[in-house]
């Protein structure tokens, strides 16, 4: 597939491959890390959904409370001796589908972040309308709705939508973890990353940092991955965004 890119006043063609080759090392690292995170989250979601877990996330091990990472419990245990790794995997259920749904709604209908996205796309359409390939499509007699749906939205705005969806997912994770931290989302004993941080709070101040820190690091690494992926793709696919 080829896309068109304006540089120095002329429309130039560039294929996907050369774009990846032209990207800086930093961008490649950012996108690579982001894809790794997205893959890890998706695989973990499936594992949690079918119940393939290292341990039962609600089984208490009274002999090992607030245990550090080690053999038996790869990422340690929480204040009730429950396996943190299993709870982290199960905790993805709390935001995965709701997050996807929220992103889908905001992209398609426009409730949460939509004014921003809509204005970005409107700007992009304005920019593309003056391009000669759109004129060519008109001259060839294609109906306007086909031009808008296929040539403008699909070929040229798909990257934009992917970028916005990626950034939106990061935002959704932020919102879900905050709500469940405050006790308004998923409730104990069901695991979510936010309520896991909260559950470990009392022990944190007595020097048992790990049960709070493990889910906090999971949140940090995941949101970082979605942000880096979104922005990396942005620089790769939308160089010098249309003005």
């Amino acid at each position: 597939m080829r896309r068109y890119r304006e540089s120095t006043g002329e429309v130039a063609e560039r294929s996907e491959r050369s774009r990846w080759r032209a990207a800086t090392l930093t961008d490649r690292a950012a996108i690579g890390y982001g894809l790794l995170v997205v893959g890890l989250v998706a695989v973990s979601y499936v594992l949690g959904a079918v119940g393939w877990l290292p341990d039962d996330p609600s089984r208490m091990d009274m002999a090992r409370l607030n245990a550090p990472p080690g053999a038996g419990h790869l990422l340690g245990t929480d204040f009730l001796g429950r396996d943190i790794l299993s709870r982290l995997i199960v905790g993805i259920q709390a935001y995965f589908l709701p997050g996807l749904l929220a992103v889908a709604i905001s992209l398609a209908l426009g409730i949460t972040g939509a004014p921003a996205i809509a204005s970005i796309i409107a700007g992009k359409i304005q920019f593309l309308r003056q391009k000669s390939f759109i004129e060519a499509a008109h001259v060839l007699g294609l109906p306007t709705r086909v031009i808008v749906a296929k040539h403008i939205l699909w070929y040229n705005c798909a990257p934009l939508l992917i970028i916005q969806a990626t950034l939106g997912m990061g935002e959704a994770i932020l919102v879900e973890t905050s709500l469940s931290y405050l006790g308004f989302g998923v409730q104990e004993p069901t695991a979510s990353w936010g309520n896991m941080v909260q559950a470990g709070a009392n022990y944190f101040f007595h020097g048992k940092f790990w049960p709070s820190t493990a889910p906090a690091l999971a949140i940090l690494g995941t949101i970082l991955g979605f942000h880096l992926l979104g922005d990396g793709l942005n620089r790769l696919l939308e160089p010098k965004s249309a003005s």
């Binding site: 905050s178 941080v197 709070a201 101040f205 906090a216 949140i219 942000h227 922005d231």
Partner: protein, 309 residues
């Protein structure tokens, strides 16, 4: 123009209040069962509480009653404590204002230098490192950063006393007030986007023809680039990130035991104290609306063409 904006604001606040009210009424639990807690209230007991407090039994009846009070400038009284909501908001509001505006300033103090530096031509390895740091900082969960800071400053080094809410003036009181502001400013999750937007806009403006002209004339470039390349993106970011800062404030007030609206609304949510929740929701919505009005004013000031529509 002004009348239209005012009407729009009123409509917006009305919509927000209706949505919040419906959500509160759809969610399980109501303030009256909290009052009757532990008494296994029957239907008759509920009805008598409703009657004693003069509360309509249908949800729209209660909404209209609330709306009628609002029209007369009365936010109602807390069901839990019986204290007027308006007074409570006036008491706790300044604390939250101090927290949110202060942390917004911290966010900008972090984001702006990084954006300016990496938009300049000298950008290299250091700029990349700074940008990565900004991303890292934006992904830190604010509650966890709060724990770390509290542990370090209170439990480990003992710089501050354990309780801040005591009557006697705390040691280093003013400094203690800075901790939540810095924590919220750093970790409200918006630093990376503010940096990215400002850097992108400034970079774009610096390649515009009128900047090249200014450069050729030997005129100061920053003065020409200031409005479009700095003022507008800054305004845009502040207005669109205020909801995130408010959301973060609820968490930070919780973590730091900060006597503001965020902790008040959290407590009210535990008690299902609807008048308090409604009052604070209204204030928060008005605050967000104010920020977007301010943005419109600044946009109109910079580019008078946008003022006509």
């Amino acid at each position: 123009m002004a009348a239209r904006e005012l009407a729009l604001t009123a409509l917006l606040l009305l919509g927000v209040s209706l949505v919040v009210f419906v959500i509160l009424n759809l969610s399980p639990g109501d303030p009256f069962s909290v009052l009757l807690e532990g008494q296994a209230p029957g239907h008759a007991a509920r009805a008598s509480v409703h009657e004693a407090l003069g509360v309509p039994t249908t949800w729209y009846g209660r909404y209209l009653a609330w709306l009628g009070n609002i029209a007369r400038g009365n936010l109602g009284t807390s069901i839990r404590t019986g204290v007027p909501v308006a007074g409570e908001i006036a008491r706790a509001g300044p604390n939250t204002l101090y927290l949110t505006l202060g942390s917004l300033l911290v966010t900008l103090l972090l984001a702006v230098p990084v954006a300016l530096y990496s938009a300049s031509r000298a950008a290299g390895a250091l700029a990349r490192g700074l940008r990565l740091a900004v991303y890292l900082v934006s992904a830190v969960p604010v509650f966890w950063l709060g724990y770390v800071v509290i542990y370090l400053f209170i439990h480990r080094f003992g710089v501050f006393p354990l309780l801040s809410g005591s009557a006697e003036p705390a040691r280093h009181g003013w400094l203690y007030g800075l901790l939540p502001i810095v924590v919220l400013g750093v970790a409200n999750g918006t630093v990376s986007e503010v940096t990215r937007h400002l850097r992108g806009e400034l970079g774009r403006v610096l390649t515009e023809d009128y900047i090249r002209t200014a450069r050729a004339k030997g005129a100061p470039v920053w003065r020409h680039a200031f409005k479009e390349g700095f003022l507008l993106p800054m305004t845009e970011m502040i207005a669109s990130k205020i909801p995130f800062v408010i959301g973060g404030a609820i968490i930070v007030e919780q973590v730091f035991n900060w006597p503001g609206l965020g902790r008040m609304v959290w407590q009210a949510a535990q008690d299902r104290d609807f008048p308090v929740i409604m009052g604070i929701a209204l204030v928060a919505a008005a605050f967000v609306r104010l920020a977007s009005l301010l943005r419109a004013v600044i946009y109109a000031g910079v580019n008078p063409r946008t003022a006509t529509d």
